[in-house]
């Protein structure tokens, strides 16, 4: 039993690794690799395409709202540049999208791809959605909770733009198939504090702009302030304070 092509070319194991690596990093063409390896170009071509596809797919998956704000051509150029500058280094595929926000900052500083401040904040929030979704943190269930707890997956972000509102509108339009198109980028800075967390019931990521009552509930839980004391300092009734905590518990960023 003989395998096609085997034995035509002699090459050390290290030379084989080097040649394949340069091919998979798009540093040499499939034709060049095929010539070195002594195999048909058509058989070697799927490999670099597949490796790049993985990066393309994880960026599209983790930054869908951001991607929709760029033309297909510009987004593809960004994907290729990210692939070139930030080789995947993590065994878990999605984890290799972690440095995309950092890459966008670099590109913005270089004045490339028309990246603005809103894009940077949107990218940070979209990535945080993946972080909380996949977080290994175990969210305690009723019965395991003693007192008042902050959801251990909660991330608190201070933003300049209304990203949470934008994402909500984007998701609504996306669910309908964008009949009215992608929502336009907000022009006015209208930021605030945004909570991103994994919902304890659905396990899906939630992004919400924090209101004053929600910030109150977060502060009480985070700093373990006795509720009567917190109510007194905020100059609200105990009943109002309890209602705020109850709402926060229903939202899922506080665990009761």
């Amino acid at each position: 039993m003989k395998t096609a092509d085997a034995g035509k070319t002699r090459m050390s194991l290290d030379e084989t690794f080097q040649t394949m690596h340069r091919l998979l990093r798009w540093e040499i063409t499939p034709a060049e690799a095929a010539a070195r390896l002594g195999c048909p170009e058509s058989r070697i071509r799927p490999y670099p395409e597949s490796v790049l596809d993985h990066v393309r797919n994880i960026l599209a998956k983790n930054f869908p709202a951001l991607a929709s704000l760029f033309s297909t051509e510009v987004w593809e150029k960004m994907v290729l540049e990210y692939f070139r500058r930030y080789p995947p280094h993590h065994y878990e595929m999605n984890a290799n999208a972690a440095r995309f926000p950092e890459f966008l900052h670099s590109m913005a500083e270089e004045g490339r791809f028309g990246i603005g401040e809103f894009h940077l904040e949107l990218a940070a929030v979209e990535w945080m959605q993946w972080v909380v979704f996949s977080s290994p943190e175990k969210i305690p269930v009723p019965g395991e909770i003693r007192g008042l707890l902050v959801n251990p997956t909660l991330a608190v972000l201070q933003l300049s733009f209304p990203v949470a509102d934008y994402l909500r509108r984007w998701e609504e339009e996306s669910a309908k198939g964008f009949p009215r198109g992608v929502p336009p980028v907000p022009e006015e800075e209208d930021g605030g504090i945004v909570f991103v967390f994994r919902h304890p019931g659905t396990h899906e990521p939630v992004v919400q702009r924090a209101t004053d009552p929600e910030l109150f509930a977060f502060k009480v839980a985070h700093e373990s302030i006795p509720l009567p004391q917190a109510a007194e300092e905020a100059r609200i009734s105990l009943r109002e304070a309890e209602s705020m905590l109850s709402s926060a518990g229903k939202a899922g960023f506080i665990l009761l």
Partner: protein, 298 residues
């Protein structure tokens, strides 16, 4: 070239539970359905990297699955044959994960998936050479030294042949025997490779150390192009089922996993496909009994 290892030791890796079982991969589209609709599913296989570092829904579903099914753990990123040192952090996490899941064995691919610090997230074939055999055998022994659980390597599908002096069958056999590990035999990959590289699939199977095969993979492929692509996105073709039957007559009963990883259909479709696999296996065992009655295996 003749195999360099003269004999095969009797099976040193015990099979847990039933010797024949049929399973599916635990995939996100079926996270809800699998607990309600699992007729004929004897075990589940999980992709290590899809569960190992994850909390939330993935962990919840895994814990529930562990209560209902035997679980086997199959990795895609260990880079068993890669040039870099084995990833310490990965092995440490994997060991902890395996202690949690308690599978009867764990597996990864006989290939490499990263090199020079870069992850490809693709299965890249090694050259079929003595140098590569020595390299990968050393690494498998190291993995087995790190993790006290039977380790299986899976034969991959590949489209280009790296320069080398051995055949794929010789290479695979040498690695498995010299590393003293198990073999996860992917019958679809044997079919795909035999068609793409022009060798006899049955001769390949004849050369495998049958007593090392603890698990079998079977799946669908795409034959619409100039060569066959191993896509795991189609029903299993009859030619592959025929080869699977031949495999079982060679190796005896094994745990068989139906792979369907892309364009994943509803669970009903998968269960029907798994039933097809099961019926093929039963038919193969009946034929084997008949053959034994007449005094011979194929």
């Amino acid at each position: 070239m003749k195999p360099r290892t003269p004999g095969v030791r009797p099976r040193s890796i015990p099979r847990p539970g039933p010797s024949q079982a049929f399973g599916l991969g635990l995939r996100r589209p079926h996270f809800d359905d699998i607990f309600e609709n699992h007729s004929g599913v004897d075990f589940l296989e999980i992709i290590t990297e899809n569960f190992m570092d994850f909390g939330g829904r993935a962990r919840e579903v895994l814990e529930r699955a562990m209560e209902m099914f035997p679980i086997v753990v199959h990795g895609v990123s260990m880079s068993v044959g890669g040039p870099d040192p084995l990833k310490e952090d990965y092995l440490k996490r994997l060991r902890k994960f395996l202690e949690f899941v308690k599978p009867p064995w764990f597996s990864d691919h006989l290939c490499y998936t990263s090199a020079f610090g870069v992850e490809y997230h693709d299965l890249v074939q090694l050259p079929f050479t003595e140098e590569a055999v020595k390299h990968v055998v050393d690494r498998i022994k190291r993995i087995q030294g790190e993790i006290d659980l039977p380790f299986l390597v899976e034969n991959i599908s590949y489209y280009a042949v790296m320069p080398g002096e051995m055949t794929e069958a010789e290479f695979t056999r040498e690695v498995v025997i010299r590393a003293d590990c198990g073999l996860l035999l992917d019958v679809n990959n044997v079919f795909v490779n035999s068609a793409n590289h022009g060798y006899d699939a049955r001769a390949f199977l004849d050369a495998m150390p049958a007593d090392r095969v603890l698990q079998v993979h079977i799946g669908g492929h795409d034959a619409s192009g100039p060569f066959i692509l191993d896509t795991h996105s189609r029903p299993v073709r009859q030619e592959v089922l025929d080869l699977y039957a031949y495999t079982l007559r060679k190796i005896g009963p094994a745990w068989t996993l139906l792979e369907w990883d892309n364009e994943i259909p509803g669970l009903d479709v998968l269960l029907a496909e798994l039933d097809k696999v099961r019926r093929t296996a039963l038919c193969a065992s009946q034929k084997e009994e008949e053959a034994e009655g007449k005094g011979g295996r194929p």
